[in-house]
Symmetry: D2
Subunit: 462 residues, 4 copies
């Protein structure tokens, strides 16, 4: 039974207006077909009524930046085992990730870096109903970056691992648009890029600036431009010609400037600038252009705990980065949830210790709730948080025609809450029910099978 | 049908005497029950006759030193992925190794370093007929050494991997008798050692000298004694009290001296002495005591190829080490096959390149043939080679009552050759048939399933 | 006595025309005052005659790219000790370098990367006559690069050395225009750059592309743009406004394209492109613009020896790089000597072994002769070689008004040869006499004191 | 004038008895010639009187374990620059160290690891009066250990430095009795050892257990025996035959047991046992044999600060090690000052930061006062502290006939204090005057020249 009417809800539809109390939302064939005051709903004419009085109905949550194969681990400890252990099971791991998100209300994810072929396969399997999971839109590789064992991530791991293995994995991720692009003549470069745009990806993310993890070292701070400006403009043009969103990876102000100049659709972690405050003028331009601002915050408490454990990632929450976050919010930019979370391995979670589990932004599951928690302390309103988690992401990625709000004609991706998220943003996690395309999600059954989240030491389930 | 008579063979029974032509060997219930001139065999009275005229019959081969989970890889490239990928499947990998050996005529292997619990489980499964494979005798850990991610093997890998994973693997291998033993008071040490001796292992191997792989670096050559002499004597005593063979790991002359003093049963790679020639007097004592001398050679050609590829293992075939090999042979020591081979991963074999595959002594399969090839160039006779591959290993390990020769009353482990191995030792690999405990081995079916030897990138078979 | 007339020489004046036989060149007060057929020279009227009949007279040699504090060592082995041992004596080491060049006929060097303050001090001391040495023009830091212990050179060394030491050295080299420039806002960046231009340097070299040595690893090949195009254009403008030559460091074709677009005066190692052939069209533009093309070659023989010793620098002489060299020569580009040589430490030379000494392009001394040897095999004519070593460098650096040719009015920097360098380019090293600003150089006295070239283990001379 | 009488002092002569008030000590020709009640001293007959009423007179302090070339730095950060910068000036650096100690009342030091030839040269120069400094007794190398760039210290540094340099330094330190000894046959080993004993050293220190710094890593804890027991016994015998003290380096209980069995004279850091409590029985034996127990403590406060800065050396002050310290004191062992301090480089001190300067036990100067401070908290009495700093060291090293107490006939090494060290041990540093061999030390003039303790970046003074 996929047709039903949720009656009696307070509807917060994602568009930012006043919530509609005592409303009935009708779902038929996976879409929202009617929204009426419950008092006006004729129960005999429509589909079966589910009494949801006293609850709040929101659009399905959307996360604008995750990596279903965990991305953070690729930068250091844990990535080697992860990639080796699950090499034959990447599609399964990605699906597990998409189930971890779905069980937490996230009906759509934008995977902005992943092994392209596996993520597209998982996307297609979910879309085809072969398995369950959040709806995936995937970028595959970040154009200009190499794979997990390249200098962009964990080059040092090559001192311990088989080159055959390392190269195979790197090629899987690079997918033809790796770092070697930077050496080519313009014509060759463009041909490779265009092939990639046509390869089935849902969006294109470009490394405007580099991703050399050594540069996170305080005595090595610097940032390079991966491509000449002219090439970046070509990529923007070719991506738009294919009708796809264009995303920027940047880590410094000059790169952010270029991303703004070429009108990217989405900026991933624009607030991370190696501790430089973004000039007000630039913040204003980004806000005016309605670019999706994928802030990636840490709560102050969590960054403090990281630093106390000697974990340099804690330094990402510098005063300057916090200021950048505030400035985007204050400027009314199109701020959106973008957590960078992944399906972190059981062993790495053990390494961290219990005291670094809660509010870890990079573990798929509660990551989006942590995001809201952090950004609320930077000045984001309760309604702003809801929109950042729904409408804004869809808007930035140009998907507002189908998802992101609860409106007639939209896909029936819905989250039903037990408590009012405008009173307390923490209520966003007090979930009564989740519907994806009109189907109720059995949260307790997810993920299934457990691959990455099972204790390791056991065989990968077939 | 497990009863049969092999008729018409030339029998080389492993005891070193003149081959017996035109002989019939009768196998009943897995044992050798009669050996008679074929002309005297009454075909009506005994079991079915298999006509093997024109073939040569030898005892099943025995390898006195292998590591079914590949040991060489643990010292560097490849071990990380191997241990991660197969962590849930170690028993399977070990069984695959035991099948690679069996299909090459090796009916018994002595596994002198491995993850104890998995190797004992595989041993028991093979003994119980739950799967097929060479008969395994296993030592588990080398007493005094840590696991694969300790300084004894690949400590550097810890820079890239999860401590939780590394510690779990290290504990699995150390099995209570790791390097921390060296810090204890005598009483605690001895209690731990005795527990280990009682834990089901088939033999006990002790690190008389250290195994720090850094010491293979030419500017770091040195060798330590893992334990005080007094403790080594205690271990010898406790091992003998339990009726188990006592093995030494040594890498230098002073350690070899101590191993000789305490009358070890088997010496693993005694010829490796960081390029010191073992004093003649010591060689003589070892020969006189009939200690099993587990030489681990490289062919000159292969070591040359290793060096040309910048692989430092080529340096193990130094002039001094070659001289040690010759001296043991010339002294009439109880020289035995001991290859150190393991079930090497597909990726690592690719890394090496085709040109380093042939005659690689550390790949289970043809390793024992390579051993014979190498030692023949050091002065070992054709008959000596056969004994080193059969009788001598059983003798050293005190298993001559059941295996090692073709004699009435022995287990029917047999190798049938198409050509005379006394004319050309290479004929040892021209195998017509293999019998283990009287059962014919279907060589073409092994290994099954392929785990490590399958191309990687595919899931581990369930 | 600094006035004299060299009579009877065959003059090869650096301008490329036919040599003038039996010529007399008059030097007065450090300048060339007359050039006449020897037969017309009135010995009674002019300064004392030096009979140089049967010899060849050339302009003093010029090297367009050296690093008097050795630059190659900064990228790896040897730099740590060098910088530590001589930290208090950098000016002395630089002067020693300038004496090594002078004694080999090089009257002028362009030092394109060095510790700014020490190299400027040594320059001034030489110019003031406080010590002897080649005339130095110095760039100081390469704008956008960090110091010797930054990721641009030997970041790994920081694992063994004192941060206080490393930071002090890095700051000395970065001199305010290090890699942190890349993180700034445009205004701050430009202010820092302009300060640098005014700091006394003789020319400005900019890292158009990065200098991360990890990228020399075959599995890490890539190239970044250090600065946005807009900033590069600003730097070109500010440098020209100050009347200084503008130099590019590039390692890839796209960066070379930008360097060409902004009309740099000199390109350092433009042929090094991570093994990409530079498009013909780009080669043509560079030739037409008369940009100084500072090729940095290895002889085929030497690169072969490097590779045989496992030294990755041998790979710089790839077929593609060789093709780039040929293409520049064939296109008639303004090719100039630019060896990258430095004052290499005694220990590092010992490390290399005798067999890697000869034709090493990075050891100050014979480096420019090796350069000629290598380029002759790429199609450079004997006259072309002479011009590359004299006229072309001066031309590219805009110094042709004073040096680079033997013409009346020029500074009397002269090299007198015993044999004809047009018959055999090797004769360029068969030096009879060297004059710098009209003063004869006592070659046998140089260098003095020996600091770097003395056997180490002795105190630095005061 | 070297003859004088110190009158009116309270004499604490180092033998542990009741202080003698109002005493006059007469010094003539560098020796103590008379000790009498001041009231009985005839000022007309003896040398000039120095009125020291109200002061306390003690024997010159003695430190039983220092490394004048800093030893701690050799294990990590700082050693590379130190050895490179001062390679030509080691004798000077050692003398600077001996002046740092002398100016703090230490008239004799036992240098238990150092570059042998330089330390012997400095010793001889001081003894000959060519320079001033504490009297040095030196062991040179620790037999069985390699040099600073071997695995015993900082092998990793070899990744950044010239092998020629590293090998030269390593050979200087190893002095023929390095780690390669462990590979030899007994006869060769003994010949090398005997040569060393005859080479001019004042005592012999043997690595009973290894010194692999990697083992300080918590996941790598272990300890090896460098030599077979038989060889250790030979070394003890040969050392005694030469009349020299025999010292042990140990890091574990089993090694300590062996050191006790062979009756070493001095044990260096016996309390460091990788966190094992030494069995009471063994402590008792060591106490009964009157072996010099060279405890090397950290104050609890300082170890806490180290740990807070992530410095693993803080872990040396583990509860078990503290317990070992207490147990030796409680057992009445011959506890002696042995700080392991060295002449630490200015840069490394800057690295540490001000907050790790005070009470650092490894900086020559106040190290012995810190030692007393730490041990007092473990139960050592005020008188015990004085004896540990004077009598006990001399006793352990068998030098009590000349130094260690204030007695007639002894060398006039004296420390005059302004306040009573029995009331407060901190008064040991309230020094009024120091005499070495009867000569007053001008403390304010030391050290001179400053080499290591000068700010770096300046040339080494000639």
């Amino acid at each position: 039974m996929s047709n039903f009417a949720l009656s009696g809800v307070t509807l917060i539809d994602g568009r930012g207006g006043t919530p509609a109390e005592n409303t009935t939302v009708v779902v038929e064939d996976g879409s929202i077909t009617r929204i009426v005051p419950s008092s006006q709903y004729d129960t005999s004419a429509g589909p079966q009524v589910i009494d949801a009085a006293g609850k709040w109905l929101l659009p399905g949550y959307i996360n604008g930046n995750i990596h279903l194969l965990d991305g953070i681990m690729m930068m250091g400890i844990g990535g080697v085992e992860y990639l080796s252990r699950y090499e034959g099971s990447f599609v399964k791991v990605i699906e597990e990730g998409a189930q971890l998100t779905l069980r937490n209300g996230v009906t759509t994810v934008f995977d902005t870096w992943d092994a392209r072929n596996p993520v597209l396969e998982a996307r297609d399997r979910i879309n085809a109903g072969a398995t369950i999971g959040s709806r995936i839109f995937a970028a595959g590789n970040i154009v200009g970056m190499g794979g997990p064992f390249s200098p962009d991530f964990n080059f040092a791991a090559r001192q311990s691992i088989s080159p055959t293995f390392a190269n195979r994995i790197d090629e899987l991720f690079a997918a033809g648009v790796g770092a070697d692009l930077t050496l080519l003549q313009e014509r060759e470069f463009r041909a490779r890029f265009r092939d990639y745009v046509q390869s089935g990806v849902d969006m294109v993310k470009v490394a405007i600036s580099d991703h050399l993890t050594a540069h996170l070292n305080p005595v090595a701070l610097r940032s390079y431009h991966t491509f000449p400006e002219k090439w970046v403009r070509m990529m923007a043009e070719d991506t738009r010609a294919a009708g796809l969103p264009f995303l920027s990876h940047t880590l410094a102000v000059p790169a952010l400037e270029l991303a703004t100049d070429v009108d990217v659709d989405v900026m991933i972690h624009p607030t991370w600038t190696y501790n430089q405050v973004i000039p007000d003028e630039l913040v204003r331009r980004i806000a005016e252009k309605r670019i999706g601002v994928g802030i990636q915050p840490l709560t102050d408490d969590y960054s403090g705990r990281l630093l106390a454990h000697g974990n340099f990632f804690g330094a990402m929450n510098s005063p300057e980065h916090q200021k950048n976050e505030r400035n985007f919010i204050d400027a009314g930019a199109n701020v959106m949830v973008a957590t960078d979370a992944g399906c972190t391995s059981h062993d790495v979670m053990q390494d961290l210790g219990e005291e670094l589990h809660e509010d870890r932004p990079w573990t798929l599951g509660a990551d989006h709730f942590t995001w809201v928690k952090a950004l609320r302390t930077r000045g984001l309103s309760a309604m702003g948080a809801i929109q950042a988690l729904t409408h804004n992401v869809a808007d930035a990625y140009n998907k507002l025609d189908t998802i992101g709000t609860v409106e007639v004609g939209k896909v029936a991706d819905l989250v039903l809450l037990n408590a009012d998220p405008l009173v307390d943003s923490e209520n966003l996690s007090d979930i009564a029910a989740i519907y994806k395309e009109g189907l109720a999600v059995d949260r307790s059954a997810l993920p299934n099978p457990r691959v990455v989240t099972a204790p390791t030491g056991a065989p990968v389930p077939n």
